[in-house]
């Protein structure tokens, strides 16, 4: 016998609590937006241009000494940080003047200064043009994904479902972006992946609930819409929670055992999937109530099947 994590006769009235839930989620979204607009992002070199070196020294590294030595060599800010071990140092250097060529000159100077006694585990130099392209492509990818999903939902369900899922997704994306802004996490190419995974994952949950609403609309033609939406959410609740748990379990595995790079990559996805699960249950379906589904032709069509 398996374990019933969510009892099958669970009947949580999500719809009646929707105003409180909406208020909380809007407040969270406002905080995220506020931080994005006032504090902004801590851009990584993918988006800002600049240099990044990960070095391993023979003994524990003297970060203070290294910092003052390197600061004299190049223009702009140099940040150093211990990375996983006392002899692993991550060096970030701001975008250097003089375009792509200036960038390489600075890199050579740093390498000369560090000498041959260190192991270069990673060296990256991103010029201004590349970072512009990466930003543009990142924005295109997120917007493109949202629009493509909207069209798919519209095609498979009705436009009201598409609009509601889009609002939900925008909310989830905003929370992940807010996380990056509020906690000053490095915003790089992986951040865009995190946003996209959050969005694709959240739409997955939403679609499962919408599928059930569509099915129930055909089955219970007389049931009031609020009850029907509630029923559908509760019927799929067990699946939503179980799948989120398995995905979160694998992400937690990555976060705790995957090393610093994978950990930085999985943290925003963990938050995004949590947000996506919550919003799929509490936002995407109850929001349908506001779309005047009943007297709409589209819904009639759906309920006739």
């Amino acid at each position: 016998m398996g374990l019933h994590i969510i009892p099958y006769d669970t009947k949580i009235n999500f719809v009646s609590k929707k105003n409180i839930i909406f208020a909380i989620l809007i407040a969270v979204a406002v905080v995220c937006l506020g931080s994005i607009f006032t504090k902004g992002f801590t851009y990584g070199i993918d988006f800002k241009g600049g240099l990044l070196l990960e070095i391993r020294t023979s003994g524990p590294a003297d970060i203070g000494k290294l910092r003052s030595e390197l600061s004299d060599l190049v223009q702009g800010e140099v940040t150093l940080q211990e990375f996983g071990a006392p002899n692993d140092v991550l060096i970030r250097v701001e975008q250097q003047p003089g375009g792509d060529a200036g960038q390489l000159v600075a890199l050579n100077k740093i390498k000369e200064k560090l000498g041959t006694g260190v192991e270069y585990r990673k060296v990256e130099s991103v010029g201004p043009k590349v970072s512009e392209d990466l930003i543009r492509n990142g924005i295109y990818a997120v917007i493109g994904a949202l629009v493509a999903m909207l069209i798919y939902i519209w095609f498979r369900f009705e436009w009201q479902f598409g609009v509601c899922s889009l609002i939900t997704l925008a909310h989830d994306a905003l929370i992940v972006l807010g996380l990056f802004s509020i906690f000053g996490l490095e915003f790089n190419e992986n951040a865009i992946i995190a946003v996209l995974i959050t969005v694709t994952y959240s739409i997955n949950d939403t679609v499962v609930i919408y599928d059930r609403i569509r099915e129930n609309l055909r089955k219970f033609k007389k049931m009031p819409l609020a009850n029907l939406i509630n029923l559908s959410i509760n019927e799929t609740l067990s699946r939503t929670i179980l799948t989120s748990t398995t995905t979160l379990l694998s992400l937690l595995g990555l976060y705790f055992f995957g090393g610093p790079v994978i950990a930085a990559f999985s943290l925003p996805i963990i938050v995004g999937i949590l947000a996506g699960t919550v919003s799929s249950i509490t936002v995407s379906a109850p929001l349908l109530l506001h779309m005047h589904l009943r007297d709409d032709n589209g819904l009639e069509k759906l309920s006739k099947g």
């Binding site: 016998m1 398996g2 374990l3 994590i5 099958y8 391993r56 792509d100 060529a101 390489l104 192991e119 270069y120 585990r121 990673k122 060296v123 990256e124 130099s125 010029g127 043009k129 590349v130 392209d133 990466l134 492509n137 990142g138 295109y140 990818a141 493109g144 994904a145 493509a148 999903m149 798919y152 939902i153 498979r156 190419e189 865009i192 992946i193 996209l196 694709t200 994952y201 739409i203 997955n204 679609v207 499962v208 599928d211 099915e215 699946r239 179980l242 799948t243 398995t246 995905t247 379990l249 694998s250 992400l251 937690l252 595995g253 990555l254 705790f256 055992f257 995957g258 090393g259 994978i262």
Partner: protein, 519 residues
Amino acid sequence: MLYIPLWKKILTIGICLLGLLFASPNFFTREQLENFPSWYPKSQITLGLDLQGGAHLLLEVDFDAVQKEQMASLADMVRTTLRKDRIGYTGLAAKKDFVTLTLRNPDDLEKVKSLIHNTDKEVEITSAAEGQLTLRFDEASLRARRKSVLAQSIEIVRRRVDEMGTAEPFIQQQGDDRILVQLPGVQDPARIKTMLGKTAKLQFRFVDMSIDAEPGKSVPGVDILPEERDGKTVYLAVKKQIILSGENLVDAQPGFDDYHRPAINFKFDSLGAKKFGEATKNNVGQAFAIVLDDKIIMAPRIDVPIMDGRGQITGGFTVQQAQDLALLMRAGALPAPLNVIEERTVGPGLGADSIASGEYATIIAILMVAAFMFIAYSFFGAIANIAVVFNLILLFAALSVTHATLTLPGIAGIALTVGMAVDANVLINERIKEELRNGRKMLSAIDAGYNRAMTTIIDSNLTTLIGVALLYYFGAGPTRGFAVTTSLGIIISMFTAISLTKLILAWWIGWRRPTHLPI
């Protein structure tokens, strides 16, 4: 008993066995694979640069330089054409993307137009009042020119990288002005950068001894070019007319001259040999200059005509310089300078660490998911876990066969796929439970569970695939690696989570003939 047609059973088992076969080479070393029979698949998963270590360079073709050169030669062409026909003009100047001049006599306009069009049909001429002309190339020819410059640059980059003996380089066009060069195993791309940073335009031109060469002086028909001689820079006036260029070379090899100094021995093709022979025959006693990227390497005097098309360059360089120069001469000149706009190198230590921690984290993730599935669904969870194992095997097989690249985010994608792959089984199992509660008999509940969950599985997986496809389309390197493993994982999971689990279930029911489901 659950009914599954025979062909479906065979297909399902067949796919799983093929998956095992094609995933298996990853568990052997290259040497071991060599000894396997020839029918045995041998392709292994390709690791991205972030996992195996290596250098990644993104080069941009400097089209501004191409344009500048193009305008300069257009201005030259106009100058010679108009002079020949004694047409007066003033203010001939090459601008960023056009050439201007003013005719002394505006009535010459039609004549000038036809003269220039006879030389180059692709030049567009517009005229303003008082004989002021603007010349530019038409759009189509500019586009065609850009395209050929880029294609040629890629070819030359490929030749140079190949000549340097790098193992399995990956060279590809990116966008309409960039070239991606990936060099697995290369730790310090400094030498490659220097080698790609030179256009290496080689020219053989005559020296005009009658002109007193001073740097910065402008004399029509000649260029004042520098030459390094015993640590000092001297200048010579070199005629603009090119006798021969690097294109006529068939070979260049490093060697030594009679005094054991490093030298380069080169050979022209038959046309080049003939031209060079004639030019040297008619100019005995004169000096010619071997010019590389607007610098004179050497300027020897012609004592006897050189008829066999062979020559030797000694320019006081080191053995390494002679080797590099010979390589550049063999590979040919770049049509435009290249700028390195992005450089990423990963050391082998970091790559190995990333693989190790990625593997470790993925195994833990899989074990946690498997344990959870077993707790949640006991027997049905165990079936789902078997499906996950085959999902991974088939994913490995697909990655090996398609030569897709596995990157660090790709490893994360595998772990994430495992978490999401069980989703289909969760949907099916929840549905079966529901149908049982609704009073259906065991077998019809299973059937209904699979059938009804199907639409949901397809809808939810397709939306996910849409998102991942966009990630692939807009992403670069590592991001794409993530998109590849995730999308393959999702597609495979639709097979393993549905067909395979149903088959296992059917067997189990036929074998144990249970009266109720342990779900």
